[in-house]
């Protein structure tokens, strides 16, 4: 981890893990547009399955933390590599805004994650581990009350301000991915006949997944 390439590779590996997590998060959330029952069942499974809760979730927390911490370390190290800045620098002439400002899009995503945790993760921890309710029911004393996840999801997207924040955050996530996806493969040394196709797939992933999350937020805002 002491070499520049090892740091690049570790960033890429954590990015792959996070991109896979994002895909499965999206796959579950998109079901909420078609079937509240499917969404409820999947959410309950994810929220109560031992392997997911006690094996995968800690790995996810580590992955997210590692990606952000290493990102900051790299940014600080890179800043120190040029102790005197240019009087005039035309970065736009040779690189994209996304590639030059991963730290900005990353910080905005981190801020958004704070809101996301406040909205969903912290209430889940409170219900499960402080109140001790693992039933997943709207009313834990009434078995017929149904699972609570879909109702909670809709409730969060009532506020237009919150929906707007979510939409803006996903635009920045898209910008982050537009550079990050192909950058991760480049860092891993990907260089073969599939590299160009992979790059195009990366562009599609980087636009469609965040767009899908925006559609989910807007759908529930207008259909609650």
């Amino acid at each position: 981890m002491n070499s520049s390439i090892a740091r690049k590779i570790s960033m890429a590996l954590s990015a792959f893990f996070l991109m896979f997590f994002l895909l499965q998060h999206f796959a579950i959330n998109i079901t909420s547009l078609f079937s509240s029952e499917t969404f409820n069942n999947l959410s309950h499974f994810m929220g109560t399955n031992f392997v997911i809760q006690y094996v995968m979730q800690p790995i996810l927390i580590f992955g997210v933390t590692f990606h952000f911490v290493m990102g900051f370390i790299l940014e600080l190290k890179n800043n120190r590599s040029r102790n005197v800045k240019y009087f005039k620098n035309n970065g736009a002439a040779n690189s994209t805004w996304m590639s030059r400002n991963m730290i900005i899009s990353g910080l905005l995503i981190l801020t958004f994650m704070g809101l996301h945790f406040y909205d969903f993760w912290i209430p889940e921890l409170k219900i499960k581990f402080i109140e001790g309710d693992m039933s997943g029911l709207i009313d834990p004393d009434n078995m017929d009350s149904g699972l609570r996840y879909f109702t909670e999801l809709q409730h969060k997207f009532v506020s237009p301000t919150r929906v707007a924040i979510y939409c803006v955050a996903f635009i920045f996530l898209s910008l982050h991915l537009l550079h990050g996806f192909s950058s991760a493969f480049q860092s891993m040394g990907a260089n073969n006949k599939y590299t160009k196709a992979l790059s195009k797939f990366g562009v599609a992933y980087s636009i469609l997944i965040p767009l899908g999350f925006i559609i989910i937020a807007l759908f529930h805002h207008f259909n609650h």
Binding site: S3, R7, I9, K88, G91, N94, S95
Partner: protein, 256 residues
């Protein structure tokens, strides 16, 4: 942009007496510059003016003035080697600028390229990286096998040749937002790793060159691609991917 009318220009140039002094941007006027002259010829005109006035001329690196040696190194209007593509500063023509324009000229900026005087920087860090592994060990006692006797695929020979066109000017470092030298090191590593003669020492080469690169204080590559765009020889980012893969393989073998 092009034309035959002579140009009058304002130059904002970084002046720095020596490595220990703090520098500053100084404005100069130069008149009657032919649009067909090269950028360095324009700098020569400025220096003649300064010498005639009894002032210290602006120091800058140059040698062949044919885009081969990699000595010229100016950061012009916010871009390494100026606004043109696939050219060094000595190949840059004044017709790329407008009459009356203010042109900003700075030295390469990187912790590993300290400024010596004005626009001259110390690029010996590249030499030390090269010395760490950018070579093949061949017996040159007179019975050396002809390189052409070893079959090499056309594809690999072409890629190795493309990588070998790197002139080590440092534009990649200068333009990279992280002052990373990975395009330079990637080109040197790829140049040899693609050829059977270089593969023998491949593992030690990549580990030693990357180690030296880090010791020199260059930044980490974040794959912005700016280096590839500004490189006067069009060295491809593919070389960085090759180096990353070589490093990964060498590290795994080292551990095993």
């Amino acid at each position: 942009m092009s034309g035959t009318k002579d140009m009058n220009l304002t130059l904002k140039i970084w002046r720095q007496k020596d490595q220990k002094s703090s520098g500053k941007m100084v404005d100069y006027k130069v008149n009657g510059i032919s649009p067909n002259s090269s950028f360095l010829e324009m700098m020569d005109v400025l220096n003649e003016q300064l010498i005639n006035k009894g002032e210290q001329p602006v120091e800058f690196d140059h040698d062949c003035r044919e885009g081969i040696c990699g000595m010229c190194s100016l950061y012009i209007n916010g871009e390494a080697h100026g606004p043109d593509r696939a050219v060094t500063t000595c190949q840059l023509h004044m017709r790329k600028f407008k009459d009356g324009e203010t042109i900003t000229i700075e030295p390469w900026r990187a912790k590993a390229f300290p400024v010596l005087t004005d626009l001259k920087v110390d690029r010996s860090s590249f030499d030390r990286i090269q010395q760490a592994g950018g070579f093949i060990s061949v017996n040159t006692s007179g019975n050396t096998q002809d390189a052409n006797a070893t079959p090499i695929s056309k594809n690999n020979a072409d890629k190795a040749m493309d990588a070998a066109t790197c002139i080590g000017c440092g534009a990649c470092v200068a333009t990279c937002k992280n002052a990373s030298a990975m395009l330079f090191v990637g080109a040197k590593v790829a140049q040899y790793s693609l050829l059977p003669q270089g593969q023998v020492e491949g593992k030690e080469r990549v580990l030693n060159m990357v180690k030296q690169m880090d010791l020199e204080g260059f930044g980490n590559c974040t794959n912005t691609g700016a280096c590839e765009v500004e490189c006067p020889k069009g060295i491809s980012l593919e070389n960085i991917a090759i180096m990353n893969m070589e490093y990964l393989k060498a590290s795994i073998k080292k551990e095993g």
